[in-house]
Symmetry: C2
Subunit: 406 residues, 2 copies
């Protein structure tokens, strides 16, 4: 291929730069020029490019450091591309930019919304007979893309969640007075991340005793009964709860008023806080809520090696598929076995993936809806395996310089 462009879009994870590292290493081997567009599709429109061939002297060091760095080295955006029958001009402009820069392939690393963008570009390209290849590269902490066993970034966030949950199990075990700790975990519609709290259980730890995912309608009365039942067994009850739990009518369980972002996604806060207040009101005992917040998606110092290696390979394979002439596709992970864990990389059509959401199957949640099943634990376990090597300077992890984002 002549030149290629890669960009990143959507919310950050600790693995999105590993995929970028994969695209770059394979791209630099096989193409003339490798451009990175800053801030997703916006950077393509404004031709705000970094040229990675300039990094050649120190490229292997750079790629290694990039692989373990959190968030998006190229910045991100939340621009949603209109359909080409709604706004043809933007498509014409993008393709003119591609042509001018002799671009043979465009790689977009992102989640649901980003796959919609790249899918639309591929479809438009097809309609005008363009030879440019459009390939999506998956990422999302939420693990909610379809056609793939799991998504880059999820395993690392799951590892941080399980580790913090284990550490909080130690922290909360020290007092003899009855108390409840509620840990709110990311997940608007899909409970995958919250389910990862179950991985903290081991030969001495049964915490969290209760896990509530958005896939099952949340009932406050049943919840209080669940908490009472646990308190009859122990003084220390820890509960993992998704930010997106809703009652049977679909109303979010929350303390604050929900606001909507421009994709129509509801910005949530306060499921944990709402339950904290409920427990205090109903049971009159000490209760604390902890929101893992953005820390859970950027804790790169404890990334899963499995996750970063897979993410890097997905980036490499995206380039390989493009070299083989594929377009309108996304490399996906197909699990071959759990023990030993083995995943291979195939690809799926973007048109099948975009704008769809993969929720936790009901059968992986217990009948009462307050825990996950062993099948879920077996699914999650391999994804947090392995530790990465981080260099520390002055006591802090050495990540890649992001001064160019300012």
């Amino acid at each position: 291929m002549r030149n290629i462009i890669v960009a990143q879009s959507g919310g950050p994870t600790t693995a999105i730069n590993a995929s970028l590292s994969g695209v770059l290493s394979e791209g630099l081997k096989n193409c003339n020029k490798v451009f990175g567009a800053l801030h997703g599709i916006s950077g393509v429109l404004s031709e705000n490019f970094i040229e990675f061939n300039n990094y050649s002297e120190t490229i292997s060091e750079f790629l290694g450091r990039l692989k373990i760095s959190p968030a998006c080295f190229l910045g991100s955006c939340r621009v949603k591309l209109p359909n080409h029958n709604e706004d043809l001009e933007i498509y014409k402009k993008l393709f003119k930019t591609f042509e001018k820069n002799e671009i043979d392939a465009f790689f977009y690393i992102g989640g649901n919304d980003s796959m919609d963008t790249i899918s639309k570009l591929a479809a438009y390209g097809d309609s005008i007979g363009s030879p440019i290849r459009f390939v999506g590269v998956p990422k999302t902490v939420d693990n909610d893309l379809i056609c793939t066993d799991h998504t880059p970034g999820f395993g690392s966030a799951a590892k941080f969640i399980a580790t913090s949950m284990l550490e909080m199990a130690h922290d909360t075990a020290i007092y003899e007075v009855p108390h409840v700790t509620i840990v709110e975990i990311m997940g608007r519609n899909a409970g995958w991340l919250t389910a990862a709290a179950a991985l903290a259980r081991n030969e001495y730890n049964t915490l969290p005793q209760l896990i509530y995912l958005p896939e099952v309608p949340f009932d406050k009365k049943a919840f209080i009964n669940d908490v009472k039942a646990e308190l009859s067994k122990t003084n220390n009850v820890v509960i993992a709860v998704s930010e997106g739990i809703k009652d049977k009518d679909g109303n979010y369980i929350q303390n604050d008023t929900a606001t909507q972002d421009k994709f129509g996604h509801t910005q949530l806060s306060g499921a944990g806080k709402a339950l904290e207040l409920l427990v205090i009101e109903e049971l009159g005992l000490k209760c604390r809520s902890v929101e893992l917040n953005i820390v859970q998606r950027c804790a790169a110092h404890i990334s899963s090696k499995t996750d970063l290696d897979e993410s890097e390979n997905l980036g490499r394979m995206a380039v390989k598929f493009a070299l083989e002439g594929e377009s309108g596709i996304m490399p996906v992970l197909k699990r071959l076995s759990n023990n030993p864990y083995k995943c291979e990389i195939e690809f799926s059509k973007l048109s099948e993936i975009a704008n769809k959401e993969r929720l936790v199957p009901r059968k992986w949640i217990t009948e009462k809806g307050n825990d996950v099943t062993d099948e879920m634990v077996q699914y999650l376990k391999p994804l947090i395996m392995g530790e990465i090597i981080i260099n520390y300077r002055d006591g802090l992890p050495v990540y890649e310089n992001i001064a160019h984002l300012y």
Copy 2:
């Protein structure tokens, strides 16, 4: 010495078990029996003991794992010992227990309240001519004990805070729209932990741009002006704020109603949330608040090696001082130099330490009260240095079994 007892008290840190490990290793070398009382002074009263001589076969493995495990292996309590002229019976009972178990020294690992307890025991012992030695071992994430350069647990919490702050600096840098992130950090009266956020700054990162500690009265108008000034320079403003910031009249800046625990400490929540709502109201832009909560004090997987080594040595030295006949004392750290960092261990009298609080000196906070000085950074820097070696199993850190706390 014949037998000794050790116990832990107060809020957990990731270094309190390192001090326990130090007491145990030195105690097992020099004493007949080493008892651990479960749940602090309550466990002494009820003779709820673990006998560590029983661990002898696997003691070195156990001590190594104990050193890196978060929270309190022996559990904790929040019992405040009354003065002996208020309740003589409790003292008589405690000394009878000591006598019955042939105890020559009692070691209490804890913070302000725990030093009050051990100080009272030492004073009572003196008054009845008891030969039993009473030695405190410092710990507190808050770094607010006097007579010591810093306290065990603080450096590890500071390392997690600085690391998370750096990771959040990456996470928040990716979008082009103006936004503000407020990170609420522990510290009721002392701003040491919040100051540690400044360590995240490096050759490419200036975040957090603003830092507010409880030592300086918080002014909402000045705060909004500070935020505006930063927003005129960049789209990404990150602010570190202590949970305990107060206005000039001493009222906490918070969203929720404050409640008091039985020591009269105010339980806070919501400084970050209150400022988030203030920014949205006053500036009308995207703002998020993140509360690091208990995660910051139990993130043992990223403990500071300097902190754990010092904590272990303080535990060892506590036993050595007792062997030398000292009582009513606490081993303390005295910093000899910053570069190279060097600290030695001396001891101070408990009567001088108990119930006092070491705040951040005003001169280590900038004149405007919205940042810390370079002197503060130089003080903090050595305390987060060094990484510990953690064993992982199934992708998670291997900590010491705490089943005996249930």
